[in-house]
């Protein structure tokens, strides 16, 4: 498996049998949901991309979203930090309406880490610069403090020695791990992953998934859009299936994979698991 140095932990901890402390703490504070979708609708022109989405994600929960390409799963994710606008309904994060007029979106976005399929690392900055720019400029951390934090997080994703490398000098898997570190460096409440392994070579997929798995074990609230069903089975608390803009099915992994209720889910799973 990957070279992140966390293999042992993974075999010991399963997200479903040990509830992490972070989750408990938040739960104790009485906050019910971290992310709530209420009757969300979105159109791209005439194309109805999201249809009446209702969904909630609890603190510490890991939700895996899957579905055929073009089904709207990436859009759903991008709506959460307002990279996309909504036409009706609302999304509430930690009590704040994302698409509210008076919402300070940059402040909210600072609480949400986002990992793109194409990494989107800044090519003119080194790895450490990539991950510390937002903490320095948004969180107003001192440069040295941010660097120290950044180095710790790079160590955590197994790239401590790559701090001074430019994105072009890193492999795809390494770039994606830097991108994850960039999200983490803001110490967010939520991490969103938009097909984080889809543009990676097969041999690099696991090193990235390992990092995400570790985050799950630490109790980070996460939504992961992915086709990696193995990952979904072992790391997700719930799995959602989206097709043609509709949330077709959402269930814990055992249920989701063993007996999906919906015919379309079954069809999709048979296709994707047959690969």
């Amino acid at each position: 498996m990957g070279n992140t140095g966390f293999e042992k932990k993974i075999t010991l901890l399963r997200p479903n049998d040990i509830k992490p402390t972070f989750f408990k703490k938040i739960a104790a504070m009485g906050i019910k949901d971290m992310i709530t979708f209420k009757n969300v609708n979105k159109w791209f022109g005439k194309h109805h991309v999201l249809k009446e989405i209702n969904l909630n994600v609890e603190p510490g929960e890991v939700l895996v979203v899957c579905g055929p390409s073009g089904s709207g799963k990436s859009t759903l994710l991008r709506c959460i930090n307002r990279l996309e606008s909504l036409q009706s309904g609302e999304i509430i994060i930690d009590g704040i309406k994302v698409h509210g007029r008076e919402t300070n979106i940059t402040k909210l976005r600072a609480e949400i880490g986002f990992v793109f399929q194409q990494f989107n690392l800044y090519p003119h900055m080194t790895a450490i610069e990539n991950i510390t720019i937002a903490p320095i400029k948004v969180r107003k951390l001192k440069k040295e403090v941010a660097r120290k934090l950044g180095q710790e997080i790079l160590d955590k994703v197994g790239l401590g020695d790559k701090a001074g490398s430019y994105p072009s000098q890193l492999s795809g898997g390494q770039q994606q791990r830097v991108a994850i570190a960039r999200g983490l460096c803001m110490q967010p409440k939520i991490m969103l992953f938009d097909e984080p392994t889809s543009s990676l070579d097969p041999e690099m997929i696991n090193e990235v998934l390992d990092v995400i798995r570790n985050l799950a074990n630490e109790g980070m609230t996460m939504i992961v859009v992915t086709h990696e069903m193995g990952f979904a089975r072992e790391a997700a608390n719930r799995v959602a299936f989206i097709d043609e803009g509709r949330l077709v099915e959402i269930a814990p992994p055992e249920k989701f994979f063993k007996n999906p209720k919906n015919e379309r889910t079954r069809l999709f799973l048979s296709k994707i698991l047959a690969r």
Binding site: R109, A134, R182, G183
Partner: protein, 222 residues
């Protein structure tokens, strides 16, 4: 005869140098003004709201679509008609600044739009404000695309500044035009004019070419 004219020409060399000074002063003024305004407009054109973008685009088209000479005549002859009286020199600087601002606006907007959209999204997703995205991520990446044509634009600006001689600004070209009335050796007089322009423009052209090569190969490694 030829030798006599040459002597005369050398005698009026101080006049040429004075003209060179005017050309340089007008160019630098409009260059600085045009760059500041051009960057400002370019940023808005690449990312502002639609009506403003449309407005800037329309203005840029008007300026790019008409000869500078006509623009200069409009500023010099028509502005007094609507109550704005400008001397030749301010009129020249104003129209040159406007011209370069419009061209630079297009260069800057083009450079910004060439930065992949994912870069802006990534920056937005980590909570950077629109200004911070522009300042730390978009501009540094757009600069390699912007810089070579920007420097090239400066050469065009200096060359276009020769047109202001028409409304009586005593720049190099005007000095040449005045001199040729006294010394009817057009080749000699305007040869000198050409050499003076060449001395300014050629190094800048070489510099622009150098920048272009640099930017092409060593992108993001300066």
């Amino acid at each position: 005869m030829w030798g006599y004219y040459l002597e005369q020409l050398i005698g009026s060399l101080p006049l040429f140098l004075k003209g060179l000074g005017i050309t340089a002063a007008v160019s630098i003024l409009s260059l600085v003004g045009g760059t500041i305004i051009g960057f400002f407009l370019g940023v808005i054109r690449a990312g502002g709201i639609k009506p403003v973008r449309f407005l800037i685009g329309g203005w840029v088209d008007l300026i790019r679509g008409t000869p500078f000479l006509v623009q200069l005549f409009i500023v010099f002859f028509i502005f007094p008609d609507v109550g704005i009286h400008l001397d030749a020199l301010p009129a020249a600087v104003l129209s040159l600044t406007n011209l370069s601002a419009c061209f630079i606006c297009e260069i800057v907007a083009g450079g910004i739009l060439a930065v992949p959209a994912g870069q802006k999204e990534a920056a937005a997703a980590s909570g950077l404000s629109a200004y911070q995205q522009m300042r730390y991520l978009v501009m540094p990446q757009a600069m390699p695309t912007i810089l070579p044509p920007l420097v090239g634009q400066y050469v065009l600006l200096i060359k276009d500044s020769s047109v202001i001689s028409v409304i009586g600004v005593v720049d190099i070209t005007r000095v040449g035009w005045l001199t040729v009335q006294r010394i009817p050796e057009g080749l000699m007089v305007f040869g000198l004019v050409g050499i003076l322009y060449f001395i300014i423009c050629y190094p800048i052209i070489r510099f622009s070419n150098l920048l272009e090569k640099r930017m092409k190969f060593g992108k993001y490694r300066f």
